[in-house]
Structures are given as C-alpha cells and as structure tokens.
C-alpha cells in the first residue's frame, strides 16, 4: 500500500534530451518577489508597528516577557528537532497539561487551613502542613517543576519498558492531569482569571525570577546541545546503532525529557498550557520542509522559532491579540510558506 502510494506520488522521470524543469525556481522567485512587493507596499504600516512596539518596550513587564520568550523559544526549537524526529512530538503537549494540573493543585493548596486538616493529626503537624500549602500556593513554580519533571521520567519509562505505546501513554497522562486540574479548580476557586491565564497564557505572568530561570535554562540547553551534538545526532537518527557503539542512549533520552519539562514549565505561563507545544513542534517541522541536512534543520529551526516569537509578540502588542495565539499563528504562516517552498523545490 505504502509503496503504491509512493509510486503514485513519484514524478515522471525526465526523458533524455528533455529540458530540465525550471518551474520550481521560477515559482520560488515569484513568491519571494510577491512577498517583497507586499512588504514595500505596506512599508509605512510595518514601520509604524515597529515604532509602536518600541514604545511598548519601555514597560518592564514587556521587556521581561520578550527576554523569557526569546530564550524559551530557542530551547524549545532545539529540543523540538530531536523530539519530532524521535516521534515524541506530543510529549510537550502532555507535559504542559500536567503542568496545568500541578498549577491548579498548587493554587488550591492555598485554601488549606489548620482547621480543615484531619483532627487526629497533632496540632504542630497541622500548622506545618497548612504553612507549607500556603507557601506552595504563593509560589507554585517549584512544585509544578517537580511534578512535571517526575511525569517526564514516567512517560519515558512507560514508552520504553511497557507494551503501551508512547503516544497512548502521553494521551492518558495529559488528559488525566487536565481532569484533575479542572476538578480541583471547580471545587475551590472556580474558573477565574488565573485559570484562564494558565490555559491561554498571559504576558503579565513573567517575574524577574523567570527571566533568570529561563536564561539559565537556555544556557544549559545550548551548551549541552553543542557539546553533545554528534551523540545527539547518533541517538536521534538510529538509537540501536548508537547503543551498540556504546552511547548511553537512555541517559540522553532522560536528559532531553528533563530539559523539555523545564522548557515547558517556564514557557507555559506565557504561551498557555494549550499552546506551548507549538513552540516545540512548529519550527522543527517548518525547517524540515525545506532543509534536508540535520545541521541546517537545527539552525533554521532555532532562527525560525526566535523570529516567529518576536514577530508574534510584536503583532500581539500592536493589535492587542492574545500573545500565545499570535505566536502560534505566525508559526503556522511560516509553516505554510515553507511547505509551499518545499513542494515547489521537489
């Protein structure tokens, strides 16, 4: 069946003496010229958008969001290349749902009082537990990080060791986490602005702590990716071969899952639970349409990701669109454009 399909999609081979096809290049150039013409025509608008965005940059929270977002998109795109190629695209989505569940649970812990705890516990334990819960509710990030990292390990274990396939395991865990989150929310605060922000993201959510966290994270991801580049390629391309030549493939998988978990948690409060996985998937997929070497795919994914984030953020500020959705829309546009270029080049 697959072979039949492949045969049907294959183009007629060029007969000897036939002129080489130039349709591809012509269409590509036409597309580029069209885009340039459009940009020239709208130059004043584009300039205005830039100036307006420049004015936004005087606000500290915008600068923070921009810094965190650019760094997180860089990490997400690099990790995304291996995740997509290893057929783990949905891991980011699954983990972000887990993150949502963990965040809502952390918030709900704020409603725990000393009197609300079972009476058979000693008073000291109850007071300590209540204080701990209050602390988690006030600063939910560490708690969420721990839960998401644990789930990432669990997902990897399940897909490696058991009969259940990786994608079903992810679907199982992500929907369960979402259900827990929704139940906990409805039992305590109800659907309020905070919960809405967790789902769809908020540009206001970034604190200066997040800036440092994301800077550290992206430094770690970049350094590891560069230092282990040959080994990451070997494990991504052919895990059995890599294992046979003594590469500790399990360790690399674990490392990538861990870094993905961190990236997802840092990014999800800005991009939203439902949209963060697009940062992981889109850049890698877009660059795979056009490029056919691992190195060029990786580099172009990083550039696309950072570029799309910047443009999406600018559009969201200037036209007051939701940030996360705006960035995903820009990524989608790039994906469509790259698919067109790829199709034309074939």
């Amino acid at each position: 069946m697959g072979e039949l399909l492949q045969k049907a999609l294959q183009r007629r081979p060029r007969r000897p003496g036939e002129k080489p096809r130039r349709g591809g290049a012509i269409t590509l150039w036409a597309l580029l010229i069209l885009m340039l013409a459009w940009a020239l025509f709208h130059l004043p608008d584009i300039g205005r958008a830039f100036t307006e965005f420049g004015a936004y940059l005087q606000y500290k929270f915008i600068r923070r969001a921009l810094a965190v977002g650019l760094l997180v998109s860089l990490c997400a795109s690099l990790l995304g290349v291996t995740l997509v190629l290893k057929r783990y695209s949905m891991i980011g989505d699954g983990l972000s749902h887990v993150g949502f569940g963990a965040l809502t649970v952390a918030m709900a812990l704020g409603f725990v009082t000393t009197d609300g705890l079972p009476a058979f516990l000693p008073a000291g334990v109850r007071a300590f537990a209540a204080r701990l819960c209050g602390g988690i509710a006030k600063n939910p990030l560490p708690f969420t990080l721990v839960v998401v990292v644990l789930c990432a390990f669990m997902l990897l274990r399940i897909s490696e060791r058991s009969r259940m396939r990786g994608d079903s395991a992810i679907a199982l865990i992500s929907t369960s986490a979402l259900a827990v989150g929704v139940i906990v929310t409805s039992m305590t605060s109800g659907m309020n602005v905070d919960v809405y922000n967790y789902m769809f993201g908020s540009i206001l959510a970034m604190s200066s702590g997040d800036v440092w966290l994301s800077a550290g994270l992206s430094a770690v991801v970049l350094v590891l990716f560069v230092l282990f580049y040959p080994r990451i390629f070997a494990v991504t391309f052919d895990e059995p071969f890599a294992r046979a030549t003594g590469v500790k493939a399990g360790g690399y998988n674990l490392l990538i899952a861990l870094l993905t978990a961190l990236t997802v948690v840092v990014g999800m409060r800005m991009m939203g639970t439902l949209l963060i996985s697009s940062l992981i998937i889109f850049p890698a997929l877009s660059s795979m349409r056009v490029f056919s070497r691992f190195k060029s795919v990786t580099i172009s994914a990083a550039l696309i990701s950072v570029g799309c984030f910047f443009v999406g953020m600018m559009l969201s500020c200037v036209y007051s669109l939701p940030t996360g959705a705006g960035i995903v829309a820009v990524n989608l546009a790039v994906f469509v454009a790259f698919s067109a270029i790829g199709a034309v080049r074939e």
């Binding site: 391309f237 052919d238 071969f241 046979a244 056919s292 070497r293 691992f294």
Partner: protein
C-alpha cells in the same frame, strides 16, 4: 585467537529462555551466517554480541583487536529514518561516535575515516545528498559505510537485504563479499534469505533457541539436504 568467542551462553528474560547454551566463535576473515525462524533467539543473540544484554550464564570473550562497542553494526531500518533530514556525510560520520572517547566533536582523522569509507562503498558522490532521497540499496551502502567507521575488525549485519529488490540485493551481497575477501573484515550476518546469504559464507549457525548447527557451509549442505530443510518446516 578468535575475534569473538561465545562460550555456553544462556540468555533469559522474565523466566523465558531466549538463547540456550550457545557456543561459537568468529575468527578474523570469517563470514558467518546466522539463520533461524522468527522467535528463535536471533535478535537476542545479536544484542548479546553487541553487549546490550547480559547472559545469565556463559561467557562472551572479545579478542584479536576487537573490543566491545567496536563492532560495526547494521541494524534494520526504522520507519523514522525514511523521512529523516540528514546528509549521507552526517550519517556516515556518526559511525565515528565510538572513537571519540571524551572528545565532544569529530576530529580530522574521524572525517578522513568517514571519507575513506564513503569512497570504499561508492557513496562519496552522494555525500551532500539527503539520506531520505537515496534508493534502498544506496541507503544500505551508506549505513554500511557508517558501520565500517565504527569498526576495524567485524561487521554485524541484521537482515541487510530486507526490502531491497533482487538486483539491489545481489549488488549488496557483492559489496559485502568484497569487504570480507579484499579488506579482511569479518562478517556476521543474520538473514532470512538463505540462498543469497549462504553463497559467500564460510560458516553457518542455525538457531532454534538452542544451537541446531554450527559449522562450515559444506557440512551444513550435506547435513541439511534440500528435502530435510523443508521437512523441518
């Protein structure tokens, strides 16, 4: 001295014995074909030879310049590789990963080795081309070049002609024979394609959880005459 000697090796998973008391050795210059039906423990045996599973009892000894992790392995292709964006050069170079030790990047001798092996297997002209656009035979030759980067002594090929058309399969067998005869690389091949694989081999191992037969190709032919093979099912 043998490159690899298996001495009374038994491997079991969760109480089931997959490989039962197998002994054989691979000497320099050997061309060993391992045959057996599905579930006969062939793949487990491969994993043991690569050092990926621990035998429950028995010993696997490497010698004569061969060390663990220095076997040139040609695994069966996975579905993910069909649309993997990688150039032939990147794929072949990745075979040098086991020579890197604590280094983080490929060095000049890695690149030279990759280039020499690409030339040897006649894929040097595709070095910048994408792996996914190559034909099945070209892809296998690329992966063979990668395997050669990982070893100096022994190739371990897991069903190398699966999915190739007869012409490409015959060509690949010729390439493997040349590597064995002209370049002195020992070859261990697991195969379903008895006729093709046996043509150039000098030793045969028949797996059936235990070891049904191990010896020279001539002995194999006399012991299992055509009729006997069919009767065994």
């Amino acid at each position: 001295m043998a490159l690899m000697a298996m001495n009374d090796v038994t491997i079991a998973f969760e109480g089931t014995v997959a490989v039962d008391r197998v002994s054989f050795e691979v000497n320099p210059g050997d061309y060993l074909v391992i045959v057996g039906e599905n579930g006969s423990g062939k793949s487990t045996l491969i994993r043991a030879m690569l050092g990926l599973v621990r035998p429950r009892s028995g010993r696997i000894a490497y010698g004569d310049g061969l060390v663990k992790n220095r076997i040139g392995y040609l695994p069966q292709q996975t579905a993910a590789q069909r649309d993997f964006p990688a150039s032939v050069e990147e794929v072949v170079l990745s075979g040098c990963v086991n020579r890197m030790g604590t280094r983080c990047f490929y060095n000049k001798s890695d690149r030279q080795k990759a280039e020499a092996n690409m030339a040897l297997l006649d894929v040097l002209k595709y070095r910048k081309k994408s792996f996914r656009t190559l034909s099945g035979g070209q892809q296998q030759r690329t992966l063979l070049a990668r395997a050669l980067c990982a070893t100096d002594a022994m190739l371990l090929l897991d069903e190398p002609v699966t999915g190739l058309d007869p012409a490409a399969a015959a060509e690949l067998y010729d390439v493997i024979r040349d590597l064995n005869r002209k370049h002195g690389v020992a070859v261990v091949m697991v195969s379903h394609d008895l006729g093709g694989a046996m043509r150039d081999a000098n030793k045969v191992l028949v797996m059936n959880r235990g070891m049904d037969f191990f010896g020279g190709v001539q002995d194999y032919r006399t012991k299992f005459a055509e009729g006997a093979v069919t009767a065994r099912g």
